[in-house]
């Protein structure tokens, strides 16, 4: 069996002591930033990227992945105890989780959140294994034509499913693509928009852009909001949930996992959309709807399962097709390229150890998270006592050091400063920066494949519709746009995201 030999290879890689160590580091950092509101996985991964150069690519990737799903665990702790989402993905957990904490049931809420996440993580790992092989087999048939169409679909879908205004998101993707063009043109050697800056020759580094937009831009926006930080000061006890709690939450967990897996694979899904959907579904299906919003345990189990499943399955498009599903996966693509690994369909056959090692490490990491989160919950809660007035200067400093470290270049710090200013402007005008990052990372690939496809077809744009796989991808993309422009769907989507 191919699947089992792959999994065996993955597990063997994941339990190597060095990889276990980096997995642990990743999930601990992930939990910490997940617990702390105001710093998310994107700036953290961007910050740590430069320091993974010295590591083996597999270890580095295992650690960075751990940060992402670890943050999903940590975010729920803050949501339950403080009623502030540690991460956007745990917004819904606030609703019932915090109510449970107020009723003195913080222990069971935390336990169910962790167990749901673990359960979802385990199933998602299996789903990744099952889907990866057929997808990458399909992807190996891709030429420049199909690849271009796939990139277009990926970018569009990411926009459709993201938060905020669709038109603005589309414009942001284009801005990202434009930034991606900066640098020396590979086929002609002409410098494009480098303005004589030598550092721009190799293209614009995405780390300073990500840190400026996500790290510093967020700080400036956060400082304008009035601070809210109240920890429910109660002893967390009864960490072992009762049989009744488990029985009530099991079906919710399963449905949440399913929803998370499906939405996670879609580009743009990631960790933000699944919990909202899962919560809405549970509320619809539940016999006692009145309990929702007043401490229903299903209202904790389903979204927690969904966000963890979504976080993990969003690695599928990345590992099989080389297409990032969200801004964080775009960073991961950058990480791969820095380690000299070309992301794309061939990655599965060329780097089986990396791919399966990372997949298996997710399950190992989830097991670690269960241990890290439940008995040690007190430590994480005490971290919340760090005031924001000390935290944000520290984040700013870390952004500076990380940006400098990526190429030991002071120019990158100035670039980050510029991006921070632009990022602040974007927040002010209500434009989400995530699509820009996707465009920036995918821009060069998009151009290369487009030019290659045009060269093959002698400048005939119809080639994208003549190849069957490419045509299907483009039709799906066109349908997305059409659906999006129809007013009813637009309203529904707004409601779903606003809820």
């Amino acid at each position: 069996m191919d699947l089992f030999s792959n999994l065996a290879l993955g597990l063997a890689t994941a339990v190597e002591p060095i990889n276990l160590l980096y997995c642990l580091i990743g999930v601990v950092i992930g939990t910490a930033i997940g617990v702390l509101p105001g710093i998310g996985p994107i700036p953290t991964v961007a910050l740590l990227l430069p320091f993974t150069f010295g590591l083996d690519a597999t270890s580095a990737f295992i650690m960075l992945a751990g940060i992402f799903y670890g943050a999903q665990y940590g975010g729920s702790t803050t949501a339950i105890l403080v009623n502030v989402p540690g991460e956007t993905s745990s917004v819904v957990t606030c609703l019932d989780g915090h109510k449970m904490a107020q009723q003195g049931r913080a222990g069971p809420a935390l336990a169910i959140a962790a167990i749901s996440s673990f359960y979802a993580g385990t199933i998602a790992t299996v789903v990744i294994c099952l889907l990866s092989l057929p997808l990458s087999a399909l992807a190996l048939k891709f030429t420049a034509v199909e690849y271009f169409s796939l990139l277009v679909l990926g970018l569009l879908a990411a926009v459709v499913l993201a938060h905020g205004s669709v038109m603005k998101a589309l414009a942001m993707v284009l801005l990202g693509l434009l930034l991606g063009l900066i640098g020396i043109d590979v086929s002609s050697g002409a410098a494009r928009m480098t303005f004589g800056v030598a550092e721009l020759g190799d293209g614009i580094d995405f780390v300073p852009v990500a840190m400026g937009l996500f790290g510093l831009g967020e700080i400036m926006a956060n400082l304008e909001r009035p601070p809210v930080r109240q920890v429910v000061s109660q002893k967390v006890r009864d960490l072992i949930p009762s049989w009744a709690d488990l029985k009530a939450s099991f079906p919710a967990m399963t449905r949440g996992t399913l929803i998370g897996c499906i939405l996670g694979v879609l580009p743009g899904g990631g960790a933000a959309l699944p919990p909202f959907t899962a919560y809405a579904v549970e509320k619809k299906l539940s016999k006692n709807k009145a309990m929702f919003g007043h401490g229903a345990i299903e209202g904790v189990a389903a979204p927690e399962a969904a966000n963890n499943a979504g976080a993990q399955t969003s690695f599928i498009p990345l590992l099989t097709l080389g297409i990032p599903a969200n801004a964080l996966m775009a960073l991961m693509i950058g990480a791969l390229m820095m380690h000299g690994i070309q992301p794309g369909p061939q990655i599965m056959t060329e780097q089986p150890q990396l791919v399966w090692g990372v997949i298996a490490s997710m399950w190992v990491g989830n097991l670690m998270l269960l241990v890290i989160n439940l008995p040690l919950v007190g430590i994480w809660v005490s971290m919340l006592k760090i005031p924001y007035r000390l935290m944000f200067p520290a984040i700013a400093l870390l952004c500076c050091i990380g940006t400098y470290g990526i190429a030991n270049s002071v120019f990158n710090i100035w670039l980050m400063l510029g991006c921070a200013l632009v990022g602040y402007f974007f927040i002010k005008v209500g434009a989400e920066p995530a699509p820009l990052l996707l465009g920036l990372v995918l821009g060069p690939q998009l151009e290369e494949n487009f030019r290659r496809a045009m060269l093959l077809s002698d400048g005939d744009l119809l080639v994208f519709l003549q190849r069957p796989i490419s045509a299907v991808l483009l039709v799906v993309a066109a349908m997305l746009i059409l659906v999006l422009l129809s007013p009813t769907v637009f309203r529904k989507r707004k409601e779903a995201l606003a809820e």
Binding site: A171, L216, L223, P393, C400, V429, F450
Partner: protein
Amino acid sequence: MTGRRIDLQDLLFGLFLVGVAAFTTVATWSLRVGTAANMGPGYMPRAIAALVCAFGLFFVGRGLVSPFKSIAPPQPRAVIFILAAVAAFAVLVTTAGLMIASVVTIVIAGFASREMRVVETVLFGSAMAVGAVLVFVQALKLPVPIWPW
């Protein structure tokens, strides 16, 4: 503020996009565009700039006819001090070393918040500086001077 029909968010974003498109077109003017079958380096920048410009005009138009919507007034304090902190780091890191650059960055950034307490921030900054040197220079081997000498 009723009666005015301007959505400032859309309008400003639209103007920004048009500006970026215009700037790109000027900056890539001398690059060869070529044909679709044989694209020059200027083809993609020009094509994307045209799209960006179209989006920009759309937002300007929508902004002018939408009901009034202001943007939250910017608070210059946060923006100025955060950007100044980053600029200070850029200037100091290779000249004065990571230790001094870190303290200065933290203290300047601290001023961005009204809750800032000077003594606490200086102490915290010093601790962070020592930590940063230990982690990034000693452990992670970031090639950067620690002290100005």
